[in-house]
Amino acid sequence: MPRGFAGKILRVNLTKGTYRVEDYPEGWMREYLGGNGVAARILFDELKPGVDPLSPDNILIIGTGALTGTFFPSSGRWGAWFKSPLTTAIWGEAHSGGTWGPELKYAGFDLIVFYGKAEKPVYLFIDDGKVEIRDAKDLWGKDVFETDVILREEIGDERIHSIYIGQAGEKLVRLACIMDSLYRAAGRCGSGAVMGSKNLKAVVCRGGRDLEVANPDRFQKVCTELIEKLRDNPITGSALPTYGTNVLTNITNAAGILPTFNFQQGWHPEAWKNSGEFQRETILLKNRGCRFCVIRCARFCYIDSGPYAGTIGEGPEYETVWAFGSQCGVFRLDAIHAANMLCNRYGLDTISVGNVIGWAMELYERGIITKEDTDGLELNFGNHEAMVELVRKIALREGKFADLLAEGAKIASEKIGKGSDRLFQGVKWLGLPAYEPRGVWGHALAYATSSRGGCHLRAYMIAPEILGVPKKMDPLTTKGKAEMCIMFQDYFAVIDSVEVCKFVSFALTLDDFAAALTESTGWQYTADKLLEIGAKIYNLERMIACREGVRRKDDTLPERSVKEPAPVGPAKGKVVPLDEMLDEYYELRGWDKETGIPKPETLRRYGLEKAAKLAESLLK
C-alpha cells in the first residue's frame, strides 16, 4: 500500500476519448518522489524527439507529488509538464498553488497524462475515482471567471476544484497559462497553449478519499515542528504574511537588481510606489492563502478610484508588479493590478507577457518598430493605458501586432528582424523574471543553466546573495556560486517533485524534508539521499533537452547582461562573467565542458542507463 500517495496514474487518450488507470510504480515513488521526477521519467521514455509542441504528439502531464495534500506546511501545490511551445529549452514545466492539487489526490490520482487531441472541446471530470470526459461546448470561449461559475452550476456542487484555461489558451497564445481557483496560475513555458492545443478546457476534481501516511502520529509531530519553524522565521513568519511576495520590490531596488525599462537598469527612484509596503497601505483588502498554507502570502486587492476603479482580485505578486511595473516603466499599482486581473481573466502568464511588452516598448523607443507596426499604440515606457490595452489584445489575438507578440518573442523577433532578438531579455526564449542578472552573478548562472530557460525557480540564488539564506554570499563574485547553484537546483528539483511550496525552503532544510518524507512514505530518506535524487532528476531533464539539440551555446544570457555594463547601483560598470562560472558549473556537474551534455559516467552514477547510452551517442 503506497503511503502519502494516492497510488494511481491516469492516462487519458483525448484523440480516442479513452482512459486507462495504472498503478503508480513503487520505484517511481521511492526514487523520483512524484512531480518533476516522474514527469521527467515519463517524458524521457515516451516523448518523441522533434514533435511540434502544439501538435497532438505532445504529452501533457498534470499532477502532484509525495507531500501534496498532507499535513506538511504549504502542501497545496500541483504542476504541469510538457514540451514547451514558447521556449527552445524543450523541457517545459509550470507549478501553481491554489486548491486543485490536493483534490486530485483525494479524488484518487497522483498524476494525469494526456495524449492526443480531442476532436471537440472537452473537459475532464474526476469524481472520487470515476473518470468522465465531458463535452465543453458551454465553456469554450469563456474566460476563467465565467468558466469557474459555469462548471459549478453544471456539476451542481460548490465543492469541486478545477483548473482551466482562458481564451488565451484556447487561441494558442504561447504565453498562456493554466489557472486554478480563479487567481493562481501555473504560468510559464506556455502550459495553457499546450492544454488548448489538446482541446482540453478544464480538469475538474471532487474527492472524498483518504490520504494516509505511513506513521501518522510521528508525521503529524514532525509537521507541527516544521510549522513552528516557519512561524519563527522572519521571512515566512512575518515578511511574507505581512507584505506578500511584493516585500521584495524595495529590497531588490535597494540592491540595484530590480530590472527597469526592459533590464536597462537595476534601480528606479519611484519603485517604492510599487512596493509591498505601499500596496498594503493603499489597495490591500486582506491576505489569503492557498490550500494548507501556513505562509499566506497571497494578496487580495481592490482599486476603488481612478481609471481602473472596480478592479478586484488576488494579486499582484512581486513578479507581476515588476513585469507590469518597472519592466514597462509603470509606477502605479492600479494599472499593474488591472493588467494582472486581465491576465487572470484570460489565462496569461504575467511574467512572460510583461517581459514581452517591456521588450516591445524598448523596440518602439529605439525606433525599431513604429506606430504603424503596433496598430497605433504608443508603446513608450510608462504608458500604462497602452500596456493594459496590449495585454487584452494579446490574450484575444486582436490586431496583427498583438497577434505577433502572442507567438512569443522568438517568432515575433524573426518577423520584426533588425536586431530585435538581441534586445529580448530571456534565456532559451523564456523571458527573464524580476532580478537583474548583472547585480547577482550567482542568479545569472541559475538563469543560464535552468532546465526551463530564464527562470528564477529552479535555483533561487537571491536567497544566499541578497537575503542571506542559508548563508550570505557576495552577489558580485563568482566564488562558490557554481557549487551553491547546483545545490539549489538539486534541492528545488526535490521540492518540485514532492510538490510543496518553495517558500518553505526559507525556513526549512533538506533534513526537515527528509524527516517528513521518511514518516510519510515509510522509506528511509536522508538529506544526502534527497540531493542525489534531485541531481538525478536535474540530469534527466537536461538529457530531455540535449536529445533535441540543447547545448552549451544555449546556456547563455541576454547580450545586455554580458556586454553592456550596468549604469547604476552596486554593480555599476560591471557585466556578468558567465563563461568562468559556466566552466566551473559543468565541471562540478560532471557535464562535458565543450557541449554541455552530461557525461555518460555521471548519468550512470545516478542509475540512468538509458540516458547514459543516449549521451554516449550524442557525444560521439
Binding site: I150, G207, L211, G289, V294, Y302, G310, I312
Partner: protein, 163 residues
C-alpha cells in the same frame, strides 16, 4: 458553561488547515471533506470556516435519541445509537453536522480545540457561550449591513454568462 468553536471571519484566509487537522484528529487520515469544520470561499475575496454552533436544535430531531448535550454543554453523538439516517443533517440550519462517508455515523464539531493552534491566522478560538456573544453580534450586524460592503464590481463579475 457551554463551549463552542468560533471563527473570526475577518481573519480567515481560507487555507483549510483546520479541516485537514480535524480529519487527522478523528480519523488519522488527511481528507478535509471528512473534517467537522468546512471552509467556504465566496468570491470575490471572502473566506470563512463553518462549524457546529452547539445550538442543540438537532437533539430533539434525532429519531434514535443519539444526540445529547454532555456535561460541558457540547452536543455529542452517541455512536452506538446513531444509524446515520441524516435527520440531524436535514434539521441543522448551519450545515454543522454531516454523516461521515466511512463510519456512516453523524459527525460534528465537539469543540475539542485541536484545530485552534493550527490556524496560521489565529482566527479560531474555543470559547464559552457568553464569550461567543460578541462574535454573534458582529455577525448579525454584518449580515444586516453586508450590502454596503459589497464592491460594485462583484455584480459584473459574477453574472452568469449564459443568462
Amino acid at each position: 458553561m457551554t463551549k463552542v468553536l468560533v471563527v473570526d471571519d475577518e481573519l480567515c484566509v481560507g487555507c483549510e488547515r483546520c479541516a485537514i487537522a480535524c480529519s487527522f484528529r478523528f480519523f488519522k487520515v488527511y481528507n478535509p471533506a471528512r473534517g467537522a469544520i468546512h471552509v467556504v470561499k465566496l468570491e470575490p475575496g471572502r473566506d470563512i470556516s463553518v462549524a457546529c454552533t452547539q445550538c442543540g436544535l438537532c437533539i430533539n430531531q434525532c429519531p434514535e435519541g443519539a444526540l445529547y448535550r454532555d456535561e460541558n454543554g457540547v452536543v455529542m453523538v452517541n455512536e452506538e445509537k446513531c444509524t446515520g439516517c441524516g435527520t440531524c443533517v436535514l434539521a441543522c440550519p448551519y450545515g454543522g453536522v454531516h454523516v461521515d462517508p466511512v463510519t456512516k455515523k453523524a459527525f460534528k464539531c465537539i469543540a475539542c480545540g485541536y484545530c485552534v493552534p493550527y490556524c496560521p491566522q489565529s482566527a479560531l478560538k474555543v470559547v464559552t457561550a457568553e464569550e461567543a456573544l460578541t462574535t454573534k453580534w458582529r455577525r448579525v450586524a454584518k449580515a444586516a449591513t453586508s450590502r454596503l460592503e459589497l464592491p460594485p464590481a462583484r455584480k459584473l463579475w459574477y453574472k452568469h454568462p449564459l443568462r
